[in-house]
Symmetry: C2
Subunit: 373 residues, 2 copies
DNA sequence: TCATTTCTTGTAATCGATTACATAATCGGC
DNA sequence: GCCGATTATGTAATCGATTACAAGAAATGA
């Protein structure tokens, strides 16, 4: 295989442009320090020689690492892909490399993150993991990395780092309001894992809105989950066994909703005819699930972008005059997994039997359900 | 926030150990060049000072980037998470940083990859994307990166780069054999996207085994898909509309199987009672899907590890005396989405009616299906 | 016209490691 | 007790950029 052609250095450019390496460097980093004429000459030389800066040299001299680290709780969760895309995009223009690590398969020791900073392997970090220990964070602060860490989606309670997240409570409210508008009164909620900040925010939003609307609240309607498909499936079993069965369920994540729906269908219920289900996140799959999932959309791409921008800002301005908190708006996406509750439809039916056919057709159309003759 | 404490350099260590910086460097990279006594002295000094090598400096001097790039077709696909974990683990001991890029959201231009090499931003690359253009690869070779690229799972036909992959054809054969053993004769296949090497390998394995077993082959039983949930859903519609409906379907990916099962159920069929479904990949979700999916397991963790090891080997030995190809074994995982075909069970039933109840209970047990009274 | 400020550019030190080369010390063998 | 081989260590060059400082040129003002 061929040898590398020729590593062009800043000196080669300097020679061809008949200037010093300092001037070339200035053209690169601070063009207005250089006169118009030499500037274009240098730029020409750069083009002619095909010069590219050597990042290792630049990083060494500038005492930076030229990289940022993204801490992802579990790369396998489809939820994170769009966010990572947004982050990549946010760093695209910069000369930072984006390192990604999975904190589930590579658990973070207390010293690990601080170690990355201390060894100048990274200049900053974005954590999608709210489970970073306070000790780990304290160590980072000790190493002077205190204002080069940004939290995204999740965060650590009681810490002062900037947080970019969706308006989780509002998402929960939107979900409940939607179900209420459809006529549901008995609404259950499958939560995230205990201690997770998202669990808290979404549950609080749910409870708050339920209270505001004067909806009944049974303790068993708050079902503990953990954002996983399995926990949705477990929730389905619980719901199937309930005497006071809810007519709608708001899930803390789309994956939970999938598990729930599968479990409910396996238990002989129909979604949304017998029970409506709302998710949270709007991952790719949600639109093509059967039935297509009504859910709360987080703008994952935007979340990633914003976090990247905030971190870039902090890396640029030592003072750190960047926003310290941002809650991005969420959006209700109505699809086929929600419908008016059956008792309501039955009522309507009793008043006007002609609506039965219409109502059922409508449901079929949206879910694709149909029963063989 | 606190200032960084003090960047300890190799000179600090040298001073405390009363040796030269060269000796310290040798202790670090080639300990047996140094006498026992000074070696321990230096190691002590390293411990005392809390010294850590500065990668930027080392990389500059050694003319390396200290990073490798992983090209992932779509980070959102759960399939890749385990692989990435394996790759990370494979590079854990080394001092290479692992960069990850999503080739779907950041499409790779012809010059992009070569550019990374040319700018010495990376020392090597692992591509999970078989869609890298030959021109792009040629450019990399030009830049001397020809033997620092490894393909994983997918590959580019007609190129000579090392390939680590699962034994895809064997996986397909296992799937067909399993269905055949259960008694299925009419077996359909939902393929991957046209032109994908995995599509070809799996379809060939399927067709080959079907031929070997003397099973019937209808053209309409080969259904074009694209590894997506939607394509599974589409396939379900096709199958529902067939006059000569297969009794089992082998899907080229688990996601396809999920879409297919959802579509079939929505169409009034039961899985596996009316139709059996086999997937490919064994992603996390497959075990907890309802019904739990029978599938072909790829050892994703091992795939990642092996690719990392091969690339590390190539980066270490200039000659490139590392394996150039490896097909890792796959494994059939039997779960609840496959069962003997209904005609077979009906036959059995006719001979011995007592088996009906047993047979149905058996199916219920595995799928969790049950019909309300 | 001369002093002073402002632009433009070059010289050389610097970032923190690695390593070719030189030198000093040690060891065997005869 | 001398010589070549081996081992251990130090000196200094080097990787390729950035930038403090200096200095010459041009512009400004009195």
């Amino acid at each position: 295989m061929g040898k590398p052609p020729k590593p062009t250095t800043i000196l080669d450019v300097a020679r061809t442009a008949r200037v010093s390496s300092a001037t070339v460097s200035r053209v690169l980093s601070n063009p207005n320090l250089v006169s118009q004429s030499t500037r274009v000459a240098v730029q020409e030389a750069i083009r002619d020689t095909g010069y590219r800066v050597n990042q290792a040299a630049r990083n060494l001299r500038m005492q930076r690492a030229g990289a940022v680290l993204i801490l992802v709780p579990n790369l396998g969760k489809p939820f994170y892909s769009g966010i990572l895309a947004g982050i990549s995009e946010g760093f695209a223009g910069s000369d930072y490399a984006v390192l990604i690590t999975d904190t589930e398969s590579n658990p973070l020791q207390d010293e690990t993150l601080a170690g990355y900073f201390r060894d100048s392997r990274i200049d900053g970090a974005i954590s999608l993991d709210g489970g970073v220990s306070s000790d780990a964070l304290k160590l980072c602060v000790t190493h002077g990395a205190g204002d080069r860490i940004v939290f995204l989606c999740e965060w650590v309670e009681g810490e002062v780092f900037p947080v970019i997240s969706s308006d989780n409570a509002e998402g929960a409210r939107l979900a409940i309001r939607h179900l209420h508008d459809l006529g549901h009164r008995k609404i259950a909620h499958v939560t995230g894992p205990d201690g997770n900040v998202l669990t808290t925010a979404r549950r609080q939003g749910m409870v708050q809105e339920r209270g505001r609307l004067g909806l009944p609240a049974l303790p068993e309607w708050i079902i503990r989950g953990d954002f996983s498909l399995e926990s949705g499936h477990e929730a389905a079993k619980r719901i199937l066994a309930m005497s006071a069965r809810p007519t709608a369920v708001f899930c803390s994540a789309d994956m939970v909703a999938f598990g729930l729906i599968a479990g409910l269908i396996a238990g002989g219920l129909r979604v949304p005819e017998d029970i409506s289900v709302v998710g949270f996140d709007d991952i790719e799959m949600s639109g093509s699930y059967v039935p297509a999932l009504t859910t709360i959309r987080q703008d994952r791409h935007q979340l990633g972008r914003r976090a990247a921008e905030v971190l870039l800002g902090r890396l640029a301005n030592a003072p750190g005059q960047t926003p310290t908190e941002a809650a991005l708006p969420v959006e209700l996406v109505v699809r086929a997994s929600t419908a008016p509750p059956s008792d309501l439809r039955d009522n309507r039916l009793m008043q006007n039997p002609a609506q039965l056919k219409f109502g059922e057709e409508g449901a079929n159309e949206r879910t694709g359900h149909f029963r063989p003759p």
